[in-house]
């Protein structure tokens, strides 16, 4: 097995995501603690560590890696994020199955299905101070870029930038959904934890996919 296949494999995807989440556990939990119940980082880390255990020594495709993540989050992680991120990864897995990952349209489809299904499930819209404030602009930026003729790399870079702007935009928003909504005006002034983790996850995905040549 060559370095390049390893690099663009589901195995790498899983491991890099686990590392990124683990590294940011405390940061994410602190953000959630300010306006939520403070378990966001811990929840996600628990989930991703379980995913790593389940991965074991398996060599799997990107689509399989996404499926493994989605299934584990859906079935073993409670709270809002189990179902929401479970859906995110499962839809990404279904959209990438048997498709050419080097084709920029594949990632476009993945983002689109994931965003739509999360919106359907959670009912959140842009401005509600959730991970939708990251996902929607990220998807828009990505599709705009490939519509313009940008290559995968560039499109992914623009997506990450939009995601991070989206993340930062949540600071000035009042939460409309989830636990933080109960605070009303008092939820303004802090980032949204889900938005932060979502931007992080998209960044890792972009890195892994930009190697998918």
């Amino acid at each position: 097995m060559t370095l390049s296949t390893t690099a663009c494999s589901g195995r790498a995807l899983v491991i890099e995501l686990v590392e990124a989440i683990e590294e940011h556990t405390m940061w994410l939990s602190e953000i959630d603690g300010a306006i939520g119940d403070g378990d966001h980082g811990v929840n996600l880390t628990k989930g991703f560590q379980l995913i790593k255990t389940r991965l074991g020594d398996d060599v799997i495709s990107i689509s399989q890696g996404l499926a493994l993540i989605g299934k584990t989050l859906l079935t073993d992680i409670g709270g809002s994020m189990g179902p929401l991120y479970g859906t995110f990864f499962i839809q990404m897995s279904l959209a990438s199955r048997d498709r050419d990952l080097a084709d920029p349209r594949t990632f476009a489809l993945m983002l689109c299905r994931a965003t739509e299904e999360i919106a359907d499930l959670g009912g959140a819209k842009v401005g509600d101070k959730t991970l939708m404030d990251v996902l929607v602009p990220a998807q828009d930026a990505y599709t705009a870029a490939i519509a313009r003729g940008a290559n995968l790399d560039l499109a992914l870079r623009e997506m990450v930038a939009a995601a991070e702007r989206g993340r930062d935009s949540t600071r000035d928003l009042v939460a409309k959904l989830g636990r933080a909504a109960r605070l009303g005006e008092r939820s303004r002034g802090m980032l949204d934890a889900g938005a932060c983790s979502c931007a992080l996850i998209l960044k890792v995905l972009a890195r892994v996919f930009s190697r998918a040549r």
Binding site: G70, L74, T75, G86, I90, Q91, L94
Partner: protein
């Protein structure tokens, strides 16, 4: 709390364990302790039929796992949805290669978890289609039927859907039949007392002695009106007043009727209420093809009653009449 239980946080596990021991003819264990399947499921070449929901409604849901009925169920905590994983595992246990019909009730938790289970099934390549029962006329106006809860009418879509699958129907055919059943079914409940969740230990709603709640939900969801306790005759006519115009049920139609107790109601009271239902339907020129009077869909020890009517057509009639065998419903068509 006068209960025959061990640990209030373990009632579902203990009950499942008891059911498995008592009825090996109806229930087989699966890898998921919250999923029970019919012993001969999955049946190769048959569409799998699955349901699931919170516990405390026995014989629903598990009591309708059986021959020519449900192939598997997902079992939730008392009055709360099974997990997505449980629904998904039930799909896998039921799938005989022709896909799975998931026929469940319109509750937020069940909707969410079934939706997620469907994604998991899609990952595994199991075609799943769903029908959501919304027979409870009291839970939303007619023009917002998608907001209505599913109650005892669910049993009828399990019966017809299960029968259609048993007769070799395709997934689309099973779904069509179950959907038509739901579309032609209307229910309403009347509560006379509350019930207590074992793990909570006190009533989560109250019905004062001498009053009753018309349109109460299966978990004590508020109904359309709280009134003085009325006679069985008045209760039955109030119920039909809500149900009949909603479809509407008209003269010349043939119907199936369920009059179910909510758990703590002496069954003779159900017969007393049915007496009036039958009389009123006869007056209205509606023919009762088949009636079910008993505890078919309960809410722990709640006192109260639900009324369900389903309009028949030729196919649904045949499916309703097909033999079935389960803990909650066993029917034989005898020649003699």
């Amino acid at each position: 709390m006068q209960r025959i239980i061990n640990d209030p946080f373990h009632v579902v596990e203990d009950a499942i364990s008891g059911y498995l021991k008592a009825y090996p003819n109806y229930f087989a264990k699966t890898e998921n302790p919250r999923v029970l399947k019919f012993p001969s499921a999955p049946i190769r070449g048959k569409v799998g039929v699955v349901s699931g929901g919170g516990s405390g409604h026995e014989p629903a849901f598990l009591g309708y796992v059986g021959h020519q009925l449900l192939d598997a169920v997902a079992v939730g905590e008392i009055f709360s949805s099974p997990t997505a994983k449980a629904f998904f595992d039930a799909f896998r246990e039921a799938d005989g290669g022709k896909g799975v019909a998931c026929l469940f009730g319109n509750y937020a938790g069940d909707q969410l978890n079934v939706k997620m289970a469907c994604q998991l099934a899609e990952l595994d390549g199991i075609p799943v289609k769903t029908v959501v029962a919304n027979d409870d006329v009291a839970s939303a106006p007619n023009d917002q039927r998608n907001k209505r809860r599913g109650v005892a009418g669910e049993i009828l879509m399990w019966k017809t859907g299960g029968a259609k699958a048993a007769l070799g129907g395709s997934l689309d055919e099973v779904i069509a039949v179950a959907q038509r059943t739901v579309d032609q079914t209307r229910s309403i409940g009347v509560g006379l007392s509350s019930c207590v969740l074992p793990a909570v230990g006190k009533e989560n709603f109250a019905i004062k002695a001498g009053t009753m709640e018309i349109g109460i939900g299966h978990h004590g969801e508020p109904g359309v009106a709280v009134t003085n306790l009325k006679s069985a005759k008045e209760i039955a006519s109030l119920a039909l007043e809500q149900i009949l115009p909603d479809l509407p049920f008209d003269a010349g139609m043939e119907v199936v009727v369920i009059v179910s107790g909510l758990g703590g109601t002496p069954v003779m009271e159900l017969a007393i209420a049915y007496d009036t239902v039958a009389a009123l339907l006869e007056e209205a020129g509606i023919t009762v093809h088949r009636a079910y009077v008993g505890n078919y869909f309960t809410s722990l020890e709640m006192r109260g009653i639900t009324f369900t009517l389903m309009k028949l057509d030729d196919e649904l009639k045949e499916l309703i009449d097909l033999d079935c065998d389960s803990l909650g419903l066993t029917q034989i068509r005898r020649s003699g």
